[in-house]
């Protein structure tokens, strides 16, 4: 009995409550989004600009560089790494349709292996599987600054329409963004953690910060992600109400 009590005490009740509220709403809204329901989104300048740049690239044949950062898949940085891959997938699919080149760089080898699959599939679905080239994806060692200087070197090779940096970056994000500031290209991207976001925001032309990074799919080409944005918004309201009610009760002496 004592053991059961001890286990019950150790269970993170708060985490369970959040999960039990979040998951049903997530499933409900995602099913609605998949069945065609649309949730109007507030505009985010960086994603709007990215869509414009992709159209521009299709017309002009210029290449967009996507830096996917250094966050490893299999680690807690997986969601940020996935967002870098989402942006790369969007650009790779558009480029593949017009049989144009693309460039993805990363500082993590697990991202490289995932991106290779995305690029191969994009080329195959566009009907040009033979156009897949391993050199369109480049890895520069797992040291963040080695990645930054390596990607910077890749950007010397030819003129690029844009330098898009989205994923898990630390100070190397500022390095790569700022080293390319004198080049004639649009620079945009984003990163979630506050310090890295402050650095990126100071350097790039357009940025997404914090939670906006995880919304990339919904704003680009994955309508199924709209459901998760709607569930995030609902959770946000529940959290705000919890904080407000909790604070009022605490002020009145009903809580700790």
């Amino acid at each position: 009995m004592e053991n059961v009590l001890l286990v019950t005490q150790k269970i993170d009740l708060g985490a369970w409550i959040v999960l039990l509220i979040f998951v049903p709403f997530f499933i409900l809204f995602t099913l609605r989004a998949k069945s065609g329901a649309r949730f109007p989104l507030r505009p985010i300048a960086a994603y709007k600009r990215l869509c414009e740049l992709v159209s521009q690239a299709a017309e002009s044949g210029h290449v967009i560089h996507v830096g996917m950062g250094s966050g490893g898949i299999g680690t807690p940085a997986t969601p940020e790494a996935l967002m870098g891959l989402t942006v790369f997938g969007y650009i790779a699919r558009q480029a593949a349709q017009y049989n144009q080149a693309t460039l993805g760089t990363t500082g993590d080898p697990t991202i490289l292996t995932a991106a290779q699959g995305i690029l191969q599939r994009a080329r195959a679905e566009a009907g040009f599987p033979e156009q897949y080239s391993r050199r369109e994806l480049q890895f520069y060692g797992p040291h963040p600054f080695a990645y930054a200087v390596g990607a910077f070197d890749s950007l010397r090779a030819r003129p690029y329409l844009a330098n898009v940096l989205l994923g898990h970056f630390g100070a190397e994000g500022l390095w790569l963004a700022e080293a390319t500031s004198s080049k004639e290209m649009s620079r945009l991207g984003g990163v979630a953690p506050p310090t890295a976001a402050a650095l990126m925001q100071s350097s790039l032309d357009e940025t997404v910060i914090g939670e906006e990074v995880f919304a990339a799919g919904a704003y680009l080409d994955k309508p199924s992600h709209l459901g998760s944005l709607a569930s995030q918004d609902l959770m946000r309201i529940i959290i705000i109400l919890t904080i407000l009610v909790g604070s009022i009760l605490t002020s009145l002496g009903y809580l700790g």
């Binding site: 490289l112 599939r121 799919g217 998760s228």
Partner: protein
Amino acid sequence: MKKTLPLIVAILCGVLSLADFIIPNPQLDALGAVLVEGVTILAAFALLLGLLNILGTHVHRVATGEGSRGLSLSLILAMLITMAVGIAFPHSGTLRWIFRYLYVPLQSTMTALLAFFVVSAAYRAFRLRNIEALILLVTSLLVLFTQLPFVGAISPSLAIIRDWLMRVPVTAATRGLILGIALGTIATSLRILLAVDRPYTGE
């Protein structure tokens, strides 16, 4: 099968590692530890693939003359020598020498370059002349100047303002940002665990 098995494996691994977090159970702890070991091994294999990618890129450049042959050759040699010495003689004086006199100075000077980069980035950001840029400028200058030793002597109230900024508005903003990031992380993870996203299939 090429799509279904990875899907089942991804969901299974995800649910197991999540359960390890939120259900206190020794068996789950052991399974979670095995998964973390597995991820470490897979990341090491992925690194081998990554090293082949670097080698492939630069061997191609040496062969075709794209870029600078000499620089690509120096990269290949630096990589192969470091790796060979590191694997065959991990405790040798040469590896220590490479680490101390090549790796560390290069890495720390790349970091030092950021001092120049951050100043030029901040200058460009402040030139935007909007209200957000103004708030950014005032706060960062205040925090920077109050770190200087003589500022405290000139005006002690500046340090009080800085401490208040850090304790109240900066804490509030960081808290809000972290809560938002947590919401985004949870939603993105759920998309993988509930198979809305299947990036392992190249989707």
